[in-house]
């Protein structure tokens, strides 16, 4: 037995297997732990998956609360600081919003669903390394709690002043973010290994369900992304150990070291499982199986390949002015090509969905999960469109040269979108799309995850709040970008560039309503899940647990 396996006794007890011969009476009998000890020591993939889902939903709620606070601050741009006392605090919460929403919310939510669902999809008894899965979960959770605590101890990722004195809590923030990354990496490894090795004989990779395929692609891309993030964090941390930080640990450098993870194209990489969930729920609603699976698998694979974004960090750019120009051109070409290619993949995926809808020959069964996947697909499309708009200026530069008069108005609108809140809108569209897809997965696999389906009417109410809120958040950020609202709200010097200040503030208020709506939607989902568990407890013991 390897260290990574579950104790056979525990498996037997969990499976209710009483047929095994009793151990000799003289040998000390091992009794499975109960209560909190059972949760802390569990190697059961379903329990680990549930814990991932519960805590990542909780932390997503925290992230959205932070987004709401930033929204309140931005509702009165020219009135000085209100919620926060200075630009530094706003910068730290801005960074925490991103790390929490993506690395403590979205990615672990997908990993939790995969940990719980993938073994069943492969007819495997468990994940490949159950104890490693548990270790990954606890590493991630402890890291997430430490990360949030350290940031609230005035230890956010860097500061707006280059020479600002830093406390030890900044180092703790960096280290805890490393713990989060390590936990997610190990969790990804567990899911990846499960998908590669635990398939039944005769099932090749392209015969797996769509969600499993998308998790294979996602964990493969995360395998190449998360170590780069860890490398960035280690460089920052080593620089901080000295008396004076030189280039990686001072000022806003710690945030800049990891900023690529929250921007295009990497932000799409965190949403890859969305494509698998949408495919499964969409075809299930049409009461059919996915047709033309191979093209869909190719699209998901290409989307994953294009979304790998660790290369797009400023620390790989040259500081030498003569070389920097060449790098800027290369980066613009790459960014433009990747943005267009990703948009093309999203369109192709939409075409695949349309083909499946038509070939099913019947109207879809309208369920909360179906409504959620439709909305999450639309959000991903909006993210891809925002990504294309963002690179429109360099891409259409040739047209500007050709006939300035015709295109002047258009180009004026396109100018300076890079660095504007359009970038934030793109991120929010993509990440919230992923979040909604994960919630759709929760509804879809609720009988397995929670033991019984979720309440549909309550589900539709949460869909309304989640969908409306997500669109408001993304659309208002994207639209404000056209009026020069900066992507980083703490850059107070850029606030004077904002055109139509009153209109932008009104947009920010609408965005704030969006945050409240999404938070309400998540609360309804949590209530729905709690109701399901409570009803199940009244009905009898959990039957969905260890199957």
């Amino acid at each position: 037995m390897t260290l990574t396996e579950t104790r056979p006794e525990a498996e037997a007890v969990a499976a209710g297997d009483e047929s095994r011969p009793a151990t000799q009476s003289s040998a000390p009998q091992w009794t499975p732990p109960t209560g909190l000890a059972r949760i802390l020591s569990t190697g059961d993939h379903l329990t680990i998956g549930r814990m991932y889902v519960a805590f990542s939903l909780l932390l997503s709620g925290l992230a959205l609360t932070l987004g709401m606070l930033i929204g309140i601050e931005q509702a009165d741009i020219d009135g000085g600081f209100g919620v926060f006392t200075n630009a530094n605090e706003l910068f730290q919460v801005f960074g925490l919003y991103r790390t929490t929403l993506i690395l403590c919310g979205l990615v672990p939510l997908f990993l939790g669903l995969a940990t719980a669902v993938v073994p069943g999809q492969l007819s495997a008894p468990s994940v490949a390394f159950p104890r490693a899965a548990a270790a990954a979960f606890w590493t991630w959770l402890v890291g997430a709690i430490a990360h949030i605590a350290a940031t609230f101890s005035y230890g956010g990722l860097g500061s707006v002043e280059a020479e600002a004195a830093r406390g030890q809590s900044v180092e703790l923030t960096v280290l805890s973010l490393g713990m989060i990354g390590l936990g997610l990496l190990v969790g990804s490894g567990v899911v990846f290994t499960t998908l590669v090795t635990q398939r039944p004989a005769g099932m090749d990779l392209l015969q797996m369900p769509a969600f499993s395929w998308s998790m294979l692609v996602a964990t493969g891309v995360w395998l190449f992304s998360l170590p780069v993030l860890l490398g960035n964090l280690v460089i920052s941390w080593v620089d901080m150990r000295g008396a004076d930080a030189l280039g990686f640990g001072g000022g806003d450098a710690p945030f800049e070291m990891v900023a690529w993870a929250f921007d295009a194209p990497q932000v799409y990489a965190w949403t890859i499982p969305l494509l698998g969930i949408v495919a499964e729920v969409f075809t299930a609603a049409h009461r059919s199986s996915p047709k033309l699976f191979e093209p869909m698998a190719f699209i998901v694979g290409a989307f994953g390949f294009l979304s790998f974004g660790a290369w797009a960090q400023s620390f790989f750019d040259s500081a030498d002015p003569s070389a920097a120009d060449a790098h800027i051109v290369t980066n613009e070409v790459l960014f433009t090509a990747f943005a267009l290619a990703i948009a093309l993949m999203v369109l192709a995926y939409g075409g695949w969905l349309a083909f499946n809808a038509v070939s099913a020959g019947q109207r879809p069964q309208i369920t909360p999960q179906f409504a959620l996947v439709v909305v999450s697909g639309a959000l991903l499309t909006a993210a891809a469109a925002a990504g294309v708009l963002r690179v429109a200026e360099p891409a259409l530069g040739v047209l500007r040269e050709a006939d300035d008069d015709i295109w002047r108005g258009f180009f004026d609108a396109m100018d300076d979108l890079e660095g504007s809140s359009l970038v934030t809108g793109m991120m929010n569209f993509a990440v919230l799309g992923g979040l909604l897809a994960a919630v759709a997965g929760l509804f879809h696999w609720a009988p397995r995850l929670l033991g019984r389906p979720l309440h549909a009417p309550l589900g539709f109410l949460s869909v309304l709040a989640l969908a409306g809120g997500a669109f408001l958040i993304g659309a208002t950020d994207a639209l404000s970008g056209f009026f020069d609202q900066p992507a980083q709200p703490y850059q107070t010097a850029r606030l004077v560039d904002i055109d139509a200040l009153g209109f932008v503030e009104a947009l920010n208020v609408i965005g704030l309503i969006g945050y409240i709506a999404v938070l309400g939607g998540l609360a309804l989902v949590a209530l729905n899940a709690a109701r399901s568990l409570a009803t199940q407890s009244e009905a009898g013991p959990d039957q969905g647990g260890e199957a």
Binding site: T2, L3, T4, A128, F129, A132, L185, G189, V190, F192, T193, V196, T197, Q198, L223, F224, L226, P227, V228, L230, G231, N232, V234, I235, V238, D239, R241, G242, A243, D244, A245, L246, G247, F248, A310, F315, F316, D317, S318, A319, D320, S322, A323
Partner: protein, 198 residues
């Protein structure tokens, strides 16, 4: 008619347990990606410093090539002993597998000692130059990688002592060797990029 040798029928081969191998390959690839990121930043900063006409390694530092070269050769020798361990366990030669693993461990420990000694000699202060920050980040991470590799090796050795691995099941040793080869590969890159190129 030739006699037919009759003996104990051969046991059916065990099904391949690839889980540990795939998991190790995943972990090894992640480790290599981690170092790729570190080297990406290191080489970019070095190129910028040199193209601007400045110095990369601070003039006060004493970056000798002797200790890293000894360490590089030690690492390369450990490839032979590591492969010896895999070869031996695949032939049910458990004593030699244990001996080869012990030698590999010894080589790994000696690289840790050599690197620690070099730290005391080279006079590179972390908060005086970006080069120092990056060199300590890379070489320190490699020391951690060696420690992980040694733990993996020792775990496999203890299991072999308990009779777990044999010619029918070599995955543990093969997995440990894959990770160890990555450790050696990274050190060769460190030796070239940091100590030879300077």
């Amino acid at each position: 008619m030739a006699d037919i040798a009759v003996g104990t029928p051969l046991a059916a081969p065990l099904p391949r347990q690839r889980t540990l191998l795939v998991g190790t390959v995943f972990g090894t690839a992640a480790s290599l990606m981690y170092f790729a990121a570190l080297f990406g930043v290191y080489l970019r900063e070095r190129a910028d410093a040199l193209s601007g006409g400045g110095e990369w390694i601070p003039s006060g530092a004493n970056m000798q090539l002797a200790q890293p070269t000894v360490a590089a050769w030690t690492m390369l020798m450990s490839v032979v002993t590591m492969q010896w361990a895999v070869y031996a366990i695949a032939r049910d030669d458990r004593p030699h597998a244990i001996m080869a693993t012990a030698l590999t461990t010894l080589f790994g420990l000696s690289v840790i000692v050599t690197t620690s000694f070099q730290y005391t000699e080279m006079g590179l202060v972390a908060d005086e130059s970006i080069a120092a920050v990056l060199i300590y980040a890379i070489s320190g991470s490699h020391l951690a990688m060696i420690a992980i590799g040694l733990s993996f090796l020792l775990l496999m050795a203890f299991r072999a002592l308990a009779g777990q691995y044999s010619s029918r099941q070599t995955d543990g040793f093969v997995a440990a060797s894959i990770y160890w080869y990555a450790v050696v590969f990274v050190y060769v890159v460190i030796w070239t990029a940091i100590f030879v190129l300077k």
